[in-house]
Symmetry: C2
Subunit: 420 residues, 2 copies
């Protein structure tokens, strides 16, 4: 164990105890101070970011990665605005009513409290440094941030601004700590600090998430991928279904709530598939179609799907298409290939819709609505720190409340469980 | 991977899907059928239990273990009664209001749903087989039960009764499965079934829990131990504090919410410690006292504590005793040695009490009330499937709601996130 990592984890634990004594107003003031630092020192951050971008370009990294890495004056303004928005959210901490009454006068209460120390493990996006620190601070948690090596200069500059803001706000500097190195050995050491860290949230590609989940002794909130389906049931309104498909597939293909697979009821496939194929062709979406559906689509529009397509998260303008016999077959396909993320049905039959809503296991199930609505902001949770596709602790988008837990407070006057 | 284990996990996953279509009434009817089987076939269970007891005696196992293993006609009546009590609990599943409204008419709802498949790993107590199966069934979860080898005959007899009840109730038999073997290799295989099992709950000694947590790819709810403190603050009512101590230490020393360590404010130690020592002596409690407190207690009553005593979960009539300078020192001691389980303050000063309640990190914090109240039944949760000392998913006693999660249901009429 690198003693520096142990020391960072220990200092974060100490800071988390100090945060318990801070009011919501004090935490919000620190958030506003962070936003102010971002406003005033954008130049420093952009200079650091330029170093990261130059290194990335020299290493020949993809333009997609360089885009995730890039900060601009506009992006920094948006980042400061998002921190101010977090400050405006209601304080998630405090007493929560508990209806249970006891005859012996013992008062039972519940208090919403921070989890303690949260480690965020992420990749190239430097904005996560600020977003994660802000959401943890809002919920009274200390955070340990471990970004990708591509963004190290940007992250250091951002962490320095956050520290200045914390100190100006008289909060402990160790309330937010950027891991100084991006060594994998240090990450492994961090994941062993189960006495000091309460939760690990990895954000990034499936490889990173599996690595963290496999090596962590600390509970991990996992989100592997989003293989989201649209099932067009036989009673569906075709125009509506195609609107959902266009929004779900093309409005932002690289995000996890984008659609990847279209399931079409065999009863309507001959009529629906050509319309769908035309709409997709017009938007540059390539199709990977099952043999049955390929017969109904002009050959040039569709490649023959292989088994791998049913589990693929393309994150691109590619759509897998499959004809299914009926609702049972659609449910079975989703049970086998779904990722517990977002599933959609287009149907005008309320009974079929309710059956789908109830039976499909996913963090969000939509009837006649786009998969893209599975998002903390859209659902009214405020900013989101991640999205969970495991059902433990959180399922779906995680807002600040997901970074808290409830403890029991009992107030008595000498009550004992057995007569003394 | 033993193919039998994979098949069991797969069948449980299938059964969990079928359970989604069962009403609360159907699940409750199955619970009542289980209770009826226990009533009618107590003889079979007792005969199987006699085999386990004979084997345990022949192996020279401790009387404490044999007591945990033992079933009697009275214990079976109590077990059936507890299943009927679970049946009477309100259905934890169903719609949960979500206040967020949207201007576009998209309806956002939340549905409380089962986790899916829960694996319970436990030791000698055969009653856990029935309790765990009942709580999982109540909450719509399939369960895989892996008891200790000591109780294998009893567990098989109980599992057979449960199966009969499930079949009579037209529920899938795989909704409850006892692992046929108690091989460690099979347990390791089970802990790898992260595609089919949603949660693992180990119940038993710290060794078992650490083993499961270390080897599981599935999320684990951990409860290592309860090192519970009573802090007697300077303004405490001595008689009240001693009542809490007697109840906490002696009413059931072997349980996790029993007291293990007494912290005494230095300002009152000279007066309080002799009274406390007399009360403990009268109840056969041995003391392990710090050097300061030992000076204030007649030597014969107290052994000198070593560092190990501050982390010890005695589960026996032994109490560690330490004088602390003040509240800060008490908080620091608990932060270092507490187990996030239950902590108690005796004080007549509301400000000190509220500081302790807020600052101490534990699933339950008591002011002038016994540690023994940290129990699902006492807090109004109904039956409890375990107690969590990690803050993820559940903190403290876990009732049936802890075996559920919330999924989002969105009902629209073609809404898209971006204009199409």
């Amino acid at each position: 164990m690198n003693p520096e990592i142990a020391a960072i984890a220990h200092a974060a634990r100490q800071a988390s105890r100090a945060l318990l004594q801070c009011s919501g107003a004090a935490r919000d003031a620190a958030l506003l101070a962070i936003a102010e630092q971002l406003d005033h020192h954008a130049d420093r951050v952009l200079a650091a970011n330029a170093l990261d971008l130059a290194r990335s370009a020299a290493a020949g990294q993809s333009t997609a990665l360089q885009d995730r890495l890039r900060l601009t004056p506009e992006r920094l303004v948006a980042l400061a605005a998002s921190v101010r928005e977090v400050a405006r959210l209601p304080d998630p901490l405090g007493p929560v009513p508990w209806p249970s009454q006891r005859d012996d006068g013992l008062q039972i209460g519940r208090l919403r409290v921070p989890l303690g120390v949260i480690a965020m493990i992420y990749e190239a996006r430097p904005n996560v440094t600020v977003d994660a620190a802000a959401l943890c601070l809002k919920s009274g948690n200390a955070s340990i941030l471990r970004g990708g090596s591509e963004a190290i200069e940007s992250n250091r500059a951002l962490a320095e601004l956050i520290h200045t803001a914390l100190i100006k706000s008289q909060l402990p500097a160790a309330a937010v700590t950027l891991l100084p190195s991006t060594d994998r050995a240090d990450l492994l050491d961090l994941l062993k600090c189960d006495g000091a860290i309460d939760l690990v949230i990895p954000r990034g590609g499936e490889g990173l998430i599996r690595f963290v989940a496999e090596h962590s002794r600390i509970p991990v909130i996992r989100h592997y991928k989003g293989v989201c389906h649209l099932y067009v049931e036989r009673s569906a309104d075709f125009a509506l279904a195609i609107r959902l498909l266009i929004d779900g597939k093309t409005s932002r293909p690289a995000v996890c709530n984008a659609l990847e697979t279209l399931l079409v009821d065999a009863a309507i496939a001959p009529e629906f598939l050509p319309q769908m194929a035309a709409a997709m062709r017009a938007r540059g979406v390539r199709l990977r179609a099952c043999a049955d559906s390929r017969l109904l689509i002009a050959d040039a529009d569709a490649e023959l799907a292989t088994d791998a397509d049913w589990d693929a998260e393309y994150l691109d303008l590619i759509l897998a298409v499959k004809v299914v016999a009926d609702m049972d077959a659609a449910l079975a396909h989703i049970a086998q290939h779904g990722s517990l993320h977002t599933e959609v049905i287009a149907t005008e039959d309320p009974q079929q819709a309710e059956r789908f809503l109830r039976q499909v296991d996913a963090s969000a199930v939509m009837w006649n609505a786009s998969s893209r609505f599975n998002d903390g902001g859209e659902l009214g949770l405020g900013a989101e720190i991640g999205i969970s596709t495991c059902k433990i602790h959180a399922y779906g988008p995680m807002g600040v409340e997901s970074l808290t837990t409830l403890k029991w407070l009992l107030r008595g006057h000498g009550q004992t469980r057995h007569p003394v």
